[in-house]
Symmetry: D2
Subunit: 346 residues, 4 copies
């Protein structure tokens, strides 16, 4: 059994992760930590776990925890993981960081966008960006995985095939993304009160969301191009889910069939990516609670613009699910283990 | 492997059932039927199943299907099952009926409340009411199980212990129940359009809901008393879940501790019933997607009234989950098999 | 023009009140106060008011404000109003308190249920309970009106006619009430985060909600009886609205027609109370945004229990609307002025 | 008093219109028609109108109704209005058509996009496109107004100023629009059942929505340019509201200040258009229930792209409210009459 710990288990990603791991046949959860709730039972905070995962929440001490763990999942606000994860920790246990600290390769870019110091520059080279479908080989041998951001996952999976094949302009990519409210986390915030965000929609962090450089870096890495992305997130009154609507400009005259063939080339053997039939639109309801990413692509015959849509559950494929997928890859397990849930519908 | 068919697989209960069965290690789904969608792939109707359960939907022919099946789940509107299930079918396969046709023992009561003919009177004696926690022994040897109604499940589980112990007045039980919208099924209906039922609440079928005689019959059967129940269902803007608020009048002066002891007596070994700590309120969010029933009981020190709350997922413990629990019991399997999902939260 | 101030204008009740008053042809808003947002423009906090009510929020100083105001609306958490309103203030301006401090006539009952000191005992006798339909005459000459609680308004309006006529047992009244989330106010609170309360229902403050003694006191005052009420509030995923389901036990054999006649007797001339046609159920969607209270009554032919339902908008008839209705009465205006909005639907 | 009729009063737009007109001091509603509900009282269908508008619904006979009416509002599915409105009707009464039949000037374009015959070609030249802020002068003398589509209203108001000033590429406009569910109307449709569309988001009619040619025609008419628009609508789980996110490519290097100055030039005197402060994002909650359109514009410093957002209530500024605004203009009334409601929040 793989001994696993979750640092920051009482945020939404941490709690979803606890659920997936507690059902994982090869994993034993040895500790859950929480800054806010240390000393309480996990199932007193997330009462759906009553009778399933009643262990007591511990203080956050990654150093100490790493001595008994095979893998540590870190689900902390940005800026904290890079201060606590070091070579010592990594010599004890593999680390999968669900936060942003090890995603950007360039420390300066990180510090500019996140407006904080980075404390673990020396680990940036080691860290593998854990977008499983595109970085599987690197993940296999990684000791530190930077689990992708939720928006980044949806956006990159939708745009990467066409960019890599050189079919679209790298500097004319517009991503209009829509997220459910759980993406904002569980900290107290008037903006996510029921009465403030239900029955309404808005954009936020226009031209300034921190997943923008992440999307550009990874698309660049995948395609060898130099993409420039307009990324605009929106808050939608639903609990979970991200829909990314990606507008791309073809550099040549290409038929929808040929466009579709490109997606199939990259994704036909990917269990968690479902490339839909022509004309079907991805909807978040069909992936909610699952690790699937549903993708489809359209071509506007009048404007020639190509429009791809991808739908994921932000807490699963966009966070905890992909983290476990990464763990499965790192430990040589069947990649789907404990990730076979289908979306809960209705 | 147990060969299973679902008759009426494209209603909400049928689809949830398909999900549970497709993940069940001892079950093989051999056919799904649909009156409306026969000929289409199941995963074209419920796209969450894409890649998981892509079989074609068949016409509804229980007779024919029974010849190859070990167990048939019937999820049809009332009045239809009783016309199609007969001794011949039952000689071929076990049947678990998620509809109402075999729940009421008295044909006349059925015909009065359901305002339709009953076509299978001769089977009423054979049918076992499948409220697992109270009828487990009978279910073990049943060939025909009448799976309980969603409201009835929540209501009976909350009231039965105190009624059986003679602690409350049988004729002074008020059940104010609240259900999510999926309880209304998937037929076209203006009343369940998003714009008509979101952001609002109402009672419906006041003093006339068909689960009323079911609750009374089963409570009577369990307790030996002659209960008279005021049952009032309400429609709540949520997808899944039932909360039953049960107001009971004690016949004697009894402490909350003694009341709690009675619930523990009956439920302490029941995996799917979680009797909460003193003061905790059941909430549908903690059971949504799971087969659990969360129960707690309060005593109003001023009025002496006892108030019990029970929360279930109407489509799981209130339908498909309990149906599989019954199947597990009937086939001598571990009762929890394929029912260990915890609630999806958030 | 009546010069009006709102103390605590940035809570939900205060903001709804600002909307009603800003559209009131006989009222001029001279000041809005806010502890949290003083110095900002009101329309920066509630952006729906942009261009309509852009005045700057002031510090809370009732004493000072009273010198220029004809009427002061106080929308503060309990315990504060009683410390700030005194004879001096009342000699300057009429006061309508939307909080709880002057509702209960017995200081001890208040201190027990609210678990705080009462600072204005000497004013309790002056304060008129502003349930307009039942206390109109007293309100006309009041200088201090205690505006009723939202649950209390819905509950009392539904139960009062039958209790006053001696038709029901005073000590066997069960009120199962359901409220939208705005009832919890606008303070930071994890429990009303979108992801925590959407798609779910729960009871809260079982047998301990502070509107219970208010309901009993006012029903007693209206009927001369000594009612004992079981009051159980529930939180429903909707923004606004209260539905009270009131279960009453008749003391005699009475027909539904005679029951209906009693409601008509009391409410037929009440503009804001709509007693529905036989069989129609009140729904919060039909009153949301309006000052109406929709009521209907049913009789269970089997149990003989009488069930009345009332639906209001908790922020209008349950708070700001009724407050303006009281102001209209106090100043001799047409009672409906600025309260003629119908529910916003869909 | 202006005598007004609504043809098709029981759709959502018709009902909202009935609400605005019934509160209009210069209007008397003389008839409401409904194909589905003729013979019933309007307030039996929309129970929020109980006591306010209880008149009986009539059969749809525009010819006959026009003889007594000063203005007829037509709220019918496309293809019907053009068959029923003719010169005879227009000689009797002014007509404001909330449907699509008279919006497109080119009959062929209409027939291609709407896939139906147009029956009133001879009236197309007479019809004035009633986007009040841009066509006010023409509306003043119009006898037939084509009330703009909801998406078109939001989209055009956001893009027109920059296009007219020649600041952006006409053929590189991407509109990612998000609508609440009421936009789908009130006909039975599984896709708008609560359980199917709550808690989820999807795009629909990708590259094929019928408001696309309308947007292009009107933008062309306003700007003299030849715009080519990528329009993608999305369905969002909220009752009302449209948010249009409009991505535009500048043809020159222009500062945000200069961009903002252009919007102010066109909209500073427009009561119903609220151009927000720098950095503020339009949100549908701030306009829901009102006739306002909130607009703001951003510039991405990295990509140079200009992003404008506009938020309206699809049933008010996007339908019934704008229709009444047009009526007010046509009849020489104060343009705001009966349209001064602010958004209902929360």
């Amino acid at each position: 059994m793989i001994k696993a710990s979750i640092i920051g288990a009482t945020g939404y990603s941490g709690a979803v992760l606890a659920g997936i791991l507690s059902a994982h046949k090869d994993v034993e959860i040895i500790s859950l930590t929480s800054k806010t709730y240390a000393g309480k039972k996990f199932s007193d905070i997330y009462k759906n776990f009553k009778g399933i995962l009643d262990i007591e929440l511990e203080e956050q001490n990654i150093e100490k925890i790493s001595k008994n763990a095979d893998v540590i999942f870190v689900a902390l606000p940005h800026g904290i993981a890079s201060a606590q994860i070091d070579a010592g920790v990594l010599s004890n246990a593999k680390v999968i960081d669900l936060g942003a600290d090890f995603r950007l390769k360039d420390k300066e870019v990180y510090e500019n966008w996140y407006n904080t110091k980075h404390h673990g520059e020396e680990l940036l080279d080691n860290a593998v960006y854990g977008l499983c479908e595109w970085e599987r080989e690197k993940v296999k041998s990684a000791s530190l995985v930077a689990n992708p951001g939720c928006y980044a996952t949806a956006s990159i999976l939708a745009a990467a095939p066409l960019l890599k094949e050189g079919v679209i302009c790298p500097d004319d990519i517009i991503i209009d993304a829509k997220s459910g409210v759980s993406g904002a986390g569980r900290s107290l915030d008037l903006g996510v009160h029921y009465c403030e965000c239900s029955d309404s929609i808005k954009a936020y962090k226009v031209a300034s969301h921190r997943h923008t450089p992440e999307i550009e870096q990874v698309l660049s890495c995948i395609s060898g191009k130099d993409p420039l992305v307009n990324f605009t997130p929106h808050l939608v009154p639903m609990k979970r889910g991200i829909l990314a609507s990606v507008y791309m400009k073809p550099v040549l005259d290409i038929s929808l069939n040929d466009i579709r063939a490109i997606y199939k080339k990259y994704y036909k053997n990917e269990y968690f990516i479902r490339f839909l039939n022509e004309g079907e639109v991805p909807e978040t309801r069909w992936v909610q609670g699952s690790n699937f990413c549903d993708i489809n692509v359209f071509k506007d015959p009048r404007t020639k613009r190509i429009i791809a849509f991808s739908a994921i559950d932000n807490l699963v494929k966009g966070a905890a699910g992909q983290a476990v997928q990464n763990m499965n890859i790192m430990f040589g397990l069947e990649e789907k283990t404990s990730l076979e849930n289908i979306a809960m519908f209705p």
